[in-house]
C-alpha cells in the first residue's frame, strides 16, 4: 500500500459514491433535498478536482497523487490511481461538467432520485477511468460509465429515445468487446503478472507485431466512444435523445473517455503500433473533421448540429493524437478539455431553450435573441468557440493541433484548416436561423434565464474565456506529461 499524502483522487471518487449513497437513502418525494445533496456533493467533487489541479507540480515529471492498493496479487490487479498531465485536465473537466450538469437539472421533476443516482454512478465511472493506471480497473470503470447511460437516455430522454439509447449502448458494448480481448492479450503477452500501465509501458515489453495488433483493437474500441469516423453515428443520435445534463456529460466527458483511452492505453502501451497506424488515424480524423462539418450543414435539429460539430471537433483531437509529436498531444488534450466545456455550454443553453419553447427544430425557432438574450448569448458564445474565435478556449487547441499536423501531414493539415470555413458556415447559419430574425409572437411570453439557473452557464462561459485568455495554465500541465512521454519513446 502506498500513499503519497492525502488521497485526493480517492476522495473525489468517494465524494461521488457518498453522494450516490445518500441519494439512494433519501425518500423519493424529497426532491428538493435530493437536488441540494447532489449540488453539495458535486460541488465538493469540483473543489477537490480544482485542488488537485492547482497543487499539481508541473516542474516534476511523472505521476503524482499516486495511490496503490494491491487487490489480486496473483493476476497483478491493483487499485492504482494517479494523476499526470494528461489526466488532470480531464479530471478538472469532469468536475466542472458534473457540477454544472447537476445545477442545470434543477427544474427536473420526473423520477428525481433515480436520475441523480444514475448520474452520480455515471460520473464515478468517468472519474475512475481518468485516474486509473490499472488496465483491469480501466475496463471496469469504462463499463460502469456505460451502463447508466442507457437508462438515463431511455427514461429521461426525448426524440426517439429508446432507439438512441439502444444504439449508443450497442455501439459502446461493441467497443468494449474489442477492448477487453486487447487488454487480456496484452496482459498475457507480458507474462500474465501485471495490469499496471506503468510497468507494461516499459520499452521491450511487447514485440512490434503485438503492439500493432493490440493498438488497432484498442484504437477502434476506444475510437468508437471518441466518435471516430465511420463509427460516429451513435453520437449525434445519442446527443439528441439524451436529457440535458446527460448530453452535457455525454458530449462533454464521455467522448473524451474514448480519446483518453486511445492515449492512455493504446498509445502508452503500444507506441510501435501508434507509429504504424498513425497515418490511418490521421486519415480517419481528417475525414471526420470535414464530414462532420458537412453533415452539420444540413441538420435541422439544434442538438443534431451540435452532435455533428462534435464529430468534427473530436476529429481535431484525433488529428493531434496522430501526429506523433509533443505539440500534437498537447493540442489534442487541450482540445479535449475545450471541447468538453464548449459542448456542455451548448447543451446547457439548448436545454433551457427546449424547456421553454418545447422545440429544438431550427425552422420553428427564430428571433429568440429578443426574448431570451442571455440564453441566446450563451449559445452564441459556444458557437463562436466552436468556430475557433481567438481568446476562447478552443482556439488554442486547434492552433496547436494544426501547427503539429501541418508539420507531419501537410495535406491533412491543410484540409483540416479548410474545414474551418465550413465550421463557421454551419455555426453561424444556426445562430442566424434560431436566434436572429424578428421575434415570434408564440415566444413573446417566455422569460430569460433567471439568475439561479444561470449559474452553471456562467461558470462554463467563464471557463471558456479564462482558458482562452490564459491557455498556459493548461498547456503547462499537459506539457509536463507530453514531453517526458515523447522523450521516453524508443
Amino acid at each position: 500500500m502506498e500513499f503519497s499524502n492525502f488521497p485526493y483522487l480517492t476522495a473525489i471518487l468517494l465524494s461521488c459514491v457518498f453522494g450516490l449513497l445518500i441519494i439512494l437513502f433519501l425518500p423519493d418525494e424529497k426532491k428538493q433535498a435530493i437536488k441540494q445533496i447532489s449540488a453539495v456533493f458535486s460541488g465538493l467533487t469540483l473543489v477537490l478536482s480544482l485542488v488537485v489541479f492547482c497543487t499539481y507540480d508541473t516542474g516534476r515529471a511523472g505521476l503524482q497523487f499516486a495511490e496503490r492498493v494491491t487487490w489480486v496479487p496473483s493476476l497483478g490487479i491493483s487499485y492504482f490511481n494517479a494523476a499526470d498531465g494528461f489526466s488532470l485536465p480531464m479530471i478538472l473537466l469532469t468536475g466542472i461538467v458534473f457540477f454544472t450538469g447537476v445545477l442545470t437539472m434543477r427544474e427536473l421533476e420526473l423520477r428525481v432520485k433515480e436520475f441523480y443516482a444514475l448520474y452520480f454512478l455515471l460520473v464515478t465511472g468517468v472519474f475512475g477511468l481518468f485516474m486509473s493506471f490499472d488496465l483491469f480497473f480501466i475496463f471496469i470503470w469504462y463499463d460502469v460509465s456505460l451502463f447508466p447511460m442507457y437508462l438515463l437516455i431511455a427514461v429521461w430522454g426525448s426524440t426517439r429515445k429508446e432507439y438512441g439509447a439502444m444504439k449508443l449502448t450497442l455501439y459502446l458494448l461493441a467497443g468494449s468487446a474489442l477492448i477487453l480481448p486487447a487488454i487480456i492479450y496484452l496482459h498475457v503477452a507480458a507474462g500474465g503478472t501485471s495490469f499496471d500501465i506503468t510497468a507494461l509501458m516499459r520499452p521491450g515489453t511487447f514485440s512490434p507485431f503485438q503492439q500493432k495488433l493490440a493498438f488497432l483493437l484498442l484504437f477502434i474500441g476506444f475510437g468508437i466512444l471518441a466518435g471516430v469516423w465511420p463509427f460516429h453515428t451513435w453520437s449525434p443520435v445519442g446527443h439528441v435523445a439524451a436529457p440535458t445534463a446527460v448530453s452535457m456529460v455525454h458530449a462533454g466527458v464521455l467522448m473524451k473517455i474514448g480519446a483518453f483511452g486511445v492515449l492512455r492505453v493504446a498509445i502508452f502501451l503500444c507506441p510501435e503500433g501508434w507509429k504504424f497506424w498513425a497515418p490511418l488515424m490521421a486519415t480517419l480524423a481528417v475525414i471526420g473533421i470535414v464530414y462532420g462539418a458537412l453533415a452539420a450543414l444540413s441538420q435541422t435539429d439544434l442538438k443534431f448540429v451540435v452532435g455533428y460539430s462534435s464529430v468534427s471537433h473530436m476529429g481535431i483531437v484525433g488529428l493531434g493524437l496522430s501526429t506523433l509529436t509533443v505539440d500534437g498531444l498537447n493540442g489534442a488534450v487541450f482540445q479535449m478539455f475545450a471541447h468538453g466545456i464548449m459542448t456542455a455550454l451548448f447543451f446547457s443553453a439548448i436545454g433551457y431553450i427546449y424547456d421553454r419553447t418545447h422545440t429544438k427544430m431550427i425552422p420553428e425557432l427564430g428571433g429568440l435573441s429578443r426574448v431570451m438574450p442571455k440564453a441566446s448569448g450563451y449559445f452564441i458564445l459556444a458557437a463562436l468557440t466552436g468556430i475557433g474565435v481567438p481568446c476562447l478556449a478552443s482556439f488554442w487547441g486547434e492552433l496547436v493541433v494544426f501547427i503539429a499536423a501541418f508539420k507531419t501531414y501537410p495535406v491533412a493539415g491543410v484540409s483540416a484548416v479548410g474545414a474551418l470555413v465550413i465550421g463557421a458556415l454551419f455555426m453561424l447559419r444556426v445562430v442566424q436561423r434560431a436566434f436572429y430574425g424578428p421575434m415570434q409572437a408564440k415566444f413573446a411570453h417566455l422569460a430569460d434565464i433567471p439568475f439561479h439557473l444561470g449559474i452553471p452557464r456562467m461558470i462554463l462561459a467563464a471557463v471558456i474565456v479564462f482558458f482562452g485568455l490564459f491557455p498556459s495554465v493548461l498547456f503547462d500541465v499537459i506539457d509536463s506529461a507530453a514531453v517526458p512521454f515523447m522523450r521516453g519513446l524508443p
Binding site: 458537412l294 494544426f402 453561424l428 430574425g437
Partner: protein, 632 residues
C-alpha cells in the same frame, strides 16, 4: 530599449491604449448593460484615453530610427511559443493614431446616430471590442498575434454588421462577411504555418530583416501569396469582394469605422507591414498589382449604377483599397500608406455624412434623399462635397496628393497598362462620385415639401453631436495633403525595404487632373446641368447596366456554388450517407441478428417430447462420433 525610463512610459501608454477598450467591453457587457448612457460614457472614456496615449506615443517617437519591440510570453507548449507584445515603429504609430482618431470620432457621432436604439449599450460594448482588437492588431509584434487579433476584428465586424439582428438582411450580411473573410483567413493561416515551418520565427521584424532573404524564393512567393489571400478577404478584393457592399446593412457609423476607414484597411496595413518581405518576391507583387487593379476597376463599375448611397461608398472603398494595394505592389511604400491615411479621413467623412442624410431622410436611395431636400442640411452637404472632391483627387485636398503619388509609382512600372488602369480608375471614381453629388444636389421631379430637417426623429442636439466630428474630419481632409512630405520622411526612418527613386513624368499630374476634370464634366452633363435626365451612359446600355448591377455575377456564382455544390452535393451526401449507408449497415446487422434469433427460436417450442428427441439425437450422434473416431 536603450532608454529604460523612456521605454517604460512608452510601454505604459501602449498597454493603456490597447487594454482599456477591452476593460470597457467587459464592464459594459457584464455590469452596465442596463444603463445605456453610462455604457457610452465608459466606452468613450476608454477610447479617449487610448487616443491620448496614441498621440503621446506619436509625439514621443517622432524620431525613431530603430523600431522598439516589447514582448512577453502568452503561451508555450512543446515547440510552440506564442508571444504577445508591441512593435512600435513609424508605421504602427501612424496606424494607431488613425484608428484611435476615427474610433473616437465615430463613437462621439454614434451618440447622436444611435440615440434611442434599444441596443445602445450593446452597441458601445461591441465598439469597444472592435477598438481593442484593432489596436492590438496594429501594434502586433508577431504574425501570429496579428492573426489572432485579425480574427477578433472579424468577429466584432460580424457582431456589428448584424447589430440589428431582427432584420434578415443584416444577419445574412454579417454571416456572409464572416464566412468570406474566413475563406481568405484560411489561406492567411496556412501562409503563417508555411513561414513558421521554413523560417522558424514569426516576428514581423525578423521577417522583414535581410535574414528572410535566405529562404528559398519559391517559399517566399507561395507564403506571400497565401498571406495575400487574407488581405484579399479582409480588404474585400477580387474575388472575395462581394461581402463589403452587403455589410452596409450595419449601422452607418459602423460602416464608417469598420468598413471603410480601419478594419478593411487592415488588409492594406498588413501588406505595408510585411512590405520588405513581399518585396523579396516580384512574382507575388505582380499578382498583388493585378488583383488590386481588377478590384479597383470592377468595383468602380459597380458604383456607377448603384442607387444606394452607402453602397456607392462601399464600392468606392473596395476600389480605393485596390488602388492602395496597387501603389504598394508597384513598390512605393509611402504612396500606399499615405493614401491609406488620407482615405481613412475622407471616407469616414463620406459615410458619416451619408449617415446624417439617411437619418434625416429615412432611406438609402440617393434620388429619394435628393428629393427630400438633403441639400438644405448645410454642414453635412458641404462636408460631403469636400470629401467627395478629395476622393476624386481634386487639389488641394488630401486625396489629390496621395493619389498622385500612387499614379507616379504606377508610371514607374515597365508596362504602361498599370498607369492606364490607374487613370481609368481615377476617371471612373470621379464620375460616380459626382454623379451621386449632383443627384443629391439637383433633385428632379416633384420636390417634396417635407424639409429633411423637420423630418421628426432627428433632434437638434443629436444633429449637433453628429455635426462636430464631420467638421473635424473635413478640416483634416483639407490640410492632410500638405503633410505628405513630412509623413514620407517619418515613415522611411529606419525602413528596411526598397525605396523607389523620386521623380515621375511631368505630364502625369496634368493627365490625372484632366481625367478628373473630364469625369466631372461628364457627370455634370448627365446629372448636373439643367434638363439632364439623370441617366448615366452605362445605364442606357441594358446588358452593361445589368452586368454592373449584378456585380459581374460574382455573387450569383457564389450562391450557385453554395446551394448546388456545397449543400446539395457534399452536405446532402454526408447526411444521407450517415442515415442510409452507415446506419443502414448497422441497423441491418441488428436486424439480421434478430432474424437469426427468430429462426433459432423455432427450435424452442416448449414441448417436452421435442426436447427429449433433440437430446437423444445429439447423444446418438456423439456416441457415433466416438465410435468412429476412438479416443486412442
Amino acid at each position: 530599449m536603450t532608454y529604460p525610463a523612456a521605454a517604460d512610459l512608452t510601454l505604459t501608454a501602449a498597454i493603456a491604449a490597447t487594454a482599456l477598450p477591452l476593460a470597457a467591453f467587459a464592464v459594459i457587457l457584464l455590469l452596465t448593460r442596463g444603463f445605456p448612457r453610462l455604457s457610452a460614457a465608459l466606452s468613450i472614456a476608454a477610447i479617449s484615453v487610448a487616443l491620448v496615449c496614441a498621440g503621446l506615443l506619436l509625439v514621443r517617437h517622432g524620431h525613431l530610427e530603430t523600431p522598439l519591440e516589447y514582448s512577453t510570453l502568452w503561451m508555450a507548449g512543446g515547440d510552440i511559443v506564442v508571444r504577445v507584445g508591441f512593435l512600435i515603429d513609424p508605421l504602427s504609430l501612424l496606424m494607431l493614431m488613425i484608428v484611435a482618431v476615427i474610433c473616437f470620432l465615430v463613437q462621439v457621432y454614434s451618440l447622436g446616430y444611435m440615440a434611442g436604439d434599444p441596443g445602445f449599450a450593446r452597441y458601445y460594448a461591441f465598439m469597444s471590442l472592435f477598438a481593442w482588437a484593432m489596436m492590438n492588431l496594429t501594434l502586433a509584434a508577431s504574425l501570429l498575434q496579428l492573426y489572432i487579433f485579425w480574427e477578433l476584428v472579424g468577429l466584432s465586424s460580424y457582431l456589428l454588421i448584424g447589430f440589428w439582428y431582427e432584420k434578415f438582411s443584416a444577419s445574412e450580411a454579417g454571416k456572409k462577411a464572416f464566412v468570406m473573410t474566413r475563406l481568405g483567413d484560411v489561406a492567411f493561416f496556412i501562409g503563417i504555418l508555411l513561414v513558421l515551418l521554413n523560417f522558424g520565427n514569426l516576428s514581423i521584424l525578423e521577417l522583414n530583416s535581410p535574414r528572410a532573404g535566405f529562404l528559398p524564393p519559391a517559399v517566399v512567393t507561395v507564403s506571400a501569396l497565401l498571406i495575400f489571400g487574407g488581405i484579399v478577404g479582409k480588404s474585400a478584393q477580387f474575388p472575395l469582394l462581394t461581402w463589403l457592399p452587403d455589410a452596409m446593412e450595419g449601422p452607418t457609423p459602423v460602416s464608417a469605422l469598420l468598413h471603410s476607414a480601419t478594419m478593411v484597411a487592415a488588409g492594406v496595413y498588413l501588406l505595408a507591414r510585411l512590405f520588405p518581405f513581399f518585396s523579396m518576391s516580384p512574382a507575388a507583387l505582380q499578382v498583388c498589382l493585378a488583383v488590386g487593379a481588377v478590384s479597383m476597376l470592377l468595383s468602380a463599375t459597380m458604383a456607377m449604377v448603384s442607387r444606394d448611397i452607402k453602397q456607392v461608398w462601399a464600392y468606392s472603398t473596395i476600389s480605393q483599397l485596390g488602388l492602395m494595394i496597387m501603389g504598394l505592389a508597384a513598390g512605393d511604400y509611402v504612396a500606399g500608406v499615405f493614401h491609406l491615411t488620407t482615405h481613412a479621413g475622407f471616407k469616414a467623412l463620406l459615410f458619416l455624412c451619408a449617415g446624417v442624410f439617411i437619418h434625416a431622410c429615412g432611406g438609402n436611395d440617393m434620388f429619394e434623399i435628393g428629393r427630400r431636400g438633403a441639400r438644405h442640411l448645410k454642414i453635412p452637404m458641404i462636408c460631403m462635397i469636400i470629401a467627395a472632391a478629395a476622393l476624386s483627387g481634386v487639389p488641394p485636398l488630401s486625396g489629390f496628393f496621395s493619389k498622385e503619388l500612387i499614379l507616379a509609382a504606377l508610371a514607374g512600372r515597365p508596362s504602361p497598362i498599370w498607369l492606364a488602369a490607374g487613370l481609368l480608375g481615377a476617371f471612373l471614381t470621379t464620375y460616380y462620385t459626382f454623379r451621386l453629388i449632383f443627384i443629391i444636389l439637383f433633385p428632379r421631379g416633384e420636390a417634396q415639401a417635407k424639409d429633411a430637417h423637420a423630418d421628426g426623429h432627428n433632434s437638434e442636439a443629436g444633429y449637433r453631436v453628429m455635426a462636430a466630428p464631420l467638421i473635424v474630419l473635413a478640416a483634416v481632409t483639407g490640410v492632410l495633403g500638405f503633410g505628405g512630405h513630412a509623413l514620407g520622411r517619418f515613415l522611411l526612418q529606419g525602413f528596411p525595404g526598397p525605396v523607389p527613386g523620386a521623380g515621375h513624368p511631368t505630364w502625369l499630374p496634368f493627365a490625372a487632373l484632366g481625367a478628373t476634370a473630364a469625369a466631372v464634366g461628364l457627370a455634370w452633363f448627365e446629372f448636373g446641368r439643367r434638363g439632364a435626365d439623370q441617366v448615366g451612359f452605362v445605364e442606357r446600355v441594358e446588358p452593361l447596366r445589368e452586368l454592373f448591377r449584378r456585380r459581374w455575377y460574382i455573387d450569383d456564382a457564389y450562391r450557385w456554388l453554395l446551394d448546388h455544390v456545397l449543400y446539395r452535393v457534399f452536405s446532402a451526401f454526408c447526411a444521407k450517407n450517415d442515415q442510409k449507408v452507415i446506419d443502414g449497415a448497422v441497423d441491418g446487422l441488428g436486424g439480421s441478428m434478430a432474424a437469426a434469433g427468430r429462426i433459432l427460436a423455432v427450435l424452442h417450442t416448449g414441448s417436452v417430447q421435442f426436447r427429449l428427441l433433440v437430446v437423444s439425437v445429439v447423444l446418438i450422434l456423439l456416441g457415433l462420433y466416438y465410435f468412429v473416431y476412438p479416443l486412442n
